[in-house]
């Protein structure tokens, strides 16, 4: 479903991603793991087209390398970006409306919205609050709910559990499992390695911009070298 070939991301003199290739099959859940600065976020940004990169990204068999981010989103790829990135100057309700932008001509926006408000009840109480004044965790919930409003076929989550209380994290991982069951393809960037591997089918471990290890999640979970790899031991 998603094929990344030989991806290189540079920021001026810095090379953050050095020729990474990743493949995610339809309906698969794949985890991207690695220490700080490994290049995970850079990969995600390149896949959705937010940062310039070289290499090839194709989605659904179609080369999307030259598409703009919005075109990629219209092709049903969606990202929950790192650092929440809620629209601080809009209310929670407005954020969610914008989340459903690609499906603006469809009818049941409200049904979708209610589903996520049920999952994050605190958001329902905050519908008319400016998103920028939400607590950190509330913003994270909003970012996830907003992304889900577009009903993607490929969902990329960059550290979704960041700043969330354990109860909510558990709920999100439950939901990921649900989504998986409904056939959505998922790429999951997580620090919370064990939990990520528990829901993932396969995983890639990165450090300093290259893939150090790749394999089935179950295998990795049992791998004693994992700890080493994930903190970036060279």
């Amino acid at each position: 479903m998603l094929v990344v070939e030989n991806l290189v991301v540079r920021y001026g003199p810095i090379t953050a991603v050095r020729g990474v290739s990743i493949e995610v099959g339809a309906g698969e859940t794949v985890a991207l793991l690695g220490p700080n600065g490994a290049g995970k976020t850079s990969i995600v940004s390149a896949v959705i087209g937010l940062v310039p990169s070289t290499g090839r990204v194709s989605f659904d068999g179609r080369d999307v390398s030259n598409l703009s981010p919005e075109e990629r989103v219209r092709a049903a790829m969606t990202v929950v970006p790192e650092g929440r990135r809620v629209f601080a100057n809009l209310t929670v309700a407005e954020n969610l409306r914008l989340g459903g932008f690609v499906r603006r001509r469809e009818r049941d926006q409200d049904g979708e919205r209610d589903r996520y408000l049920a999952m994050f009840p605190v958001l329902r109480e905050r519908l008319d609050q400016l998103a920028g004044t939400l607590s950190g965790g509330e913003q994270q919930m909003l970012a996830i709910a907003r992304a889900m409003m577009s009903k993607p076929r490929l969902l990329i989550l960059d550290e979704p559990s960041l700043g969330l209380a354990p109860r909510i994290v558990a709920r999100i991982f439950e939901h990921i499992v649900e989504l998986k069951k409904s056939g959505i393809t998922i790429v999951l960037v997580e620090q919370n390695m064990m939990q990520a591997l528990a829901v993932a089918d396969r995983a890639y471990v990165l450090s300093t911009g290259t893939i150090r290890h790749a394999g089935p999640a179950a295998e990795l979970r049992a791998d004693p070298r994992l700890a080493d790899l994930a903190i970036g031991g060279h």
Partner: protein, 239 residues
């Protein structure tokens, strides 16, 4: 010693803090946990003077901090990190730390005696990045820089708002180690907010639990771990 007494704060329809009372002694690490939106960051904001409480007191030693603005709190010795990362993005990593250090030099020279930028950066593993602009660091590195910057102020009390967010287990463990080291070295009071229970339980001497703006429990890690209320509101049944 930092003492917070009966602090309340309301934002429009949200009662973010309600009669919150809390102390943090020198050399003590206090954990602050609670569901999202419980009011933890708001409490930090009140203590650091970023918001004025509707009522109640915040004292550091015999200085009243509430409502006197963030500069006053900082100059009195309260340092913090930001949950949403607020680095000086255009300045270099080194300068980020320098800002706090010079301010510390100015106001509490004895507390910063012996601190150097290089040592602080080395402690956080940022030496190689010293000349890079802070804005280009990865998320995890930015968190560490936040901590280095807070330490450079030479604080009496340090409030860490989710310092381990975005770090993996090993990094978190290392962070816990550093925090403890800092406490021992400089005997400051530390309040740590985080949602990583392993981290909090392992690190803190005492834990305060908040929910809906109130303190709902307070005690040793052991007691908190088994507190049914905490399990109910925070951990959820799954855990």
């Amino acid at each position: 010693m930092l003492s917070v007494e009966q602090v309340s704060k309301r934002f429009g329809g949200v009662q973010a803090l309600q009669d919150v009372t809390l102390v943090c002694r020198p050399g003590e690490i206090v954990g602050l946990i609670g569901p999202n939106g419980a009011g933890k960051s708001s409490l930090v904001n009140v203590v650091t003077g970023l918001i004025a409480p509707d009522g109640g007191q915040v004292r550091l030693g015999d200085r009243e901090l509430a409502g006197r603005g963030p500069e006053f709190a900082a100059q009195s010795g309260v340092a913090r990190t930001f949950q949403n990362l607020r680095l000086f993005k255009q300045l270099s990593v080194r300068q980020n730390v320098e800002v706090a250090l010079t301010s510390g030099h100015r106001h509490r020279p004895d507390r910063v005696a012996g601190l150097t930028v290089d040592a602080l950066l080395a402690q956080q593993g940022l030496s190689d990045l010293a000349e890079a602009p802070a804005g280009v660091l990865s998320y995890g590195h930015q968190r560490r820089l936040e901590i280095a910057r807070a330490l450079a102020l030479g604080p009496e009390v340090m409030l860490l708002d989710e310092p381990a967010a975005g770090m993996n287990d090993q990094e978190t463990e290392a962070l816990a180690l550093t925090i403890r080291e800092i406490r021992d070295e400089r005997s400051l009071g530390i309040i740590v907010i985080d949602h990583d229970l392993g981290f909090i339980m392992g690190l803190c001497d005492r834990i305060t639990v908040m929910d809906m703006g109130r303190v709902v429990a307070d005690g040793t890690p052991e007691a908190i771990r088994n507190d049914p209320v905490v399990i109910e509101i925070y951990l959820g049944t799954v855990h």
